[in-house]
């Protein structure tokens, strides 16, 4: 016996590579033809209908008031998401705290801000000056040290930011809480056993792992926020949607301008979707043995003449470690 494997007496001849006819998918081809026809009909209907006024769409696509509105929309989206994320993490940690004062406060906040329409909240912040004409700092029920008119303190952009950001924080709090609770209890136990404080454990061990669960819905929230900023038009802040409105209220080219604005929203959400893909990949490290190739890597592999990307390096074949960290 020259085989080290006992029980195998004779090395069988190596079988030839399999040559088989792949499974046919006639249904797919038929379906593709039907969809191609429908798509052609749709495009024809879109581009040969004069009512869409595509030349007007093109004319305003890079109009200065539209691009200015675009910048405001981006600023508003970014800042309110930052507010939402920071507030959300804070609220989630408070909500999970053993301190009843903290968890109660967080619960109350989420109850109010998630329970009322964001449109109402926007209008509320904008008209805060009508409720309290001045805001001041001082001793409660005592003397005031500093006071300022509410309308000066909260210009329309700030009101929009407060309305969107504070509302978003309530939603993000629930997303972050779900993420934190998805992390295995053994992780904080191990961290505590090493002498790490509750705060360090949260910051270094639990939150980074929770991110994997938090990121995908946060991407959704960001995309949703990008479009929700259009609500701000009701308090007359000139963002992308309001900029379009301003033009068509003058020229009555309503449909073309709504398309112009929508094209921008679609472009921005596409960019965000790509960003989300890469952020998700980053936070998946350590949880997958090897990450699947990105679309760009796949295309590159295709051009190099390989139809399948190179197999990821397998570490320790045959060993099933780490099953408990999924």
């Amino acid at each position: 016996m020259n085989s080290p494997d006992q029980g195998v007496v004779e090395q069988p001849a190596r079988p030839e590579n399999i040559k088989a006819v792949p499974v046919r998918h006639p249904g797919r081809w038929a379906g593709a033809v039907v969809i191609a026809v429908l798509l052609a009909m749709l495009l024809h209907a879109l581009f040969y209908n004069k009512a869409f006024q595509w030349d007007v769409v093109g004319k305003y696509l890079f109009d200065s008031s539209i691009t200015h509105g675009l910048v405001v929309t981006l600023e508003l989206t970014a800042l309110s998401m930052v507010m939402g994320l920071v507030g959300g993490v804070l609220l989630a940690v408070m909500r999970l705290s053993p301190n009843p004062l903290l968890s109660g406060t967080a619960w109350l906040y989420i109850w109010i801000f998630r329970g009322t329409p964001v449109l109402v909240q926007l209008v509320f912040w904008n008209f805060l000056g009508a409720l309290w004409p001045t805001l001041s700092i001082g001793i409660p029920f005592g003397p005031e040290f500093w006071s300022e008119s509410t309308n000066t303190l909260i210009p329309v952009f700030t009101a929009a930011l407060l309305g969107l950001g504070l509302n978003e924080a309530a939603y993000m709090a629930e997303i972050v809480r779900g993420g934190i609770q998805s992390v295995d209890e053994g992780q904080s136990e191990a961290s505590h056993a090493l002498g790490m404080s509750r705060f360090t454990t949260m910051r270094r061990i639990v939150l980074p792992q929770a991110m994997r669960v938090i990121i995908p819905p946060t991407g959704n929230e960001t995309i949703s926020m990008l479009k929700t900023t259009s609500l701000v038009s009701v308090i007359a802040l000139e963002e992308l949607f309001r900029a379009g409105q301003n033009i068509y209220s003058r020229t009555f080219e309503t449909i073309p301008l709504l398309i112009t604005v929508s094209l921008w929203y679609l472009f921005l959400t596409s960019v965000l979707t790509i960003g989300q893909y890469y952020v998700e990949r980053y936070y998946a490290r350590g949880s997958n043995r090897a990450l699947p190739p990105t679309p760009i890597q796949r295309i590159r592999a295709l051009f190099q003449g390989r139809h399948t990307p190179p197999a990821p390096p397998v570490v320790n074949p045959g060993v099933h470690g780490g099953g408990n960290f999924s």
Partner: protein, 263 residues
Amino acid sequence: MTELTKQDRPGHPMVKAEGVRKSYGQVEVLKGIDLEVRQGEVFCLIGPSGSGKSTFLRCINHLEKINGGFLSVDGELVGYRQKGDRLYELKDREVAVKRQDIGMVFQRFNLFPHMTALQNIVEAPVQVKGESRAEAKQRGMALLERVGLADKADSYPSQLSGGQQQRVAIARALAMKPKLMLFDEPTSALDPELVGDVLDVMRDLAREGMTMIVVTHEMGFAREVGDALVFMDGGVVVESGHPREVLTNPQHERTRAFLSKVL
């Protein structure tokens, strides 16, 4: 003679338990545990599942709060401060400080999956003790070498086998320079062929004089390395003594019944 007497066990007491009780709601899991672990000893806890051995281990570093009795580590109460005849509960921060001296190794390893092996080891010394990252890394590499995994420093836990993960977990605990190591069934989640590597590391540790409390089903390890052994069942210590004596000549019926199943 199966009772652990002072004469045959040198060293000062590292862990002392007197009448330790612990219950979850109505269920009492520890019904008065008395035992003493001395410095430099390898102390093995055996018993059927549900006997309370893991719970007792977790009480030692205050992952579980005891409901009654007296439990001290290196002469200091666990979780409380005594002033006069009054007990004051320690703050989270103070409990964390005491835990730095007690290393713990878990059945399911509980490595941090988002960090490499080396990062796992470096984390606590840097975050808790304020060690410089460079110094912690250097010590971390030495520890990885000690457990035979220097080449896996940059691997993530999911890329390691169970046995390798557990050895990294031991190195992670050692990085805090503990005076006591707690092992909670460290080899129970491992494939049989991987158990040996982990036990080798523990054996080396014992030889270097580390005080270890080991909850285990590895009777061979207990017999070979253990200095003292306790058999627990139903939340009480049924029998204790030198491992060789208890394992070869058990005095109690329950011990005999248990050993006949596992040996």
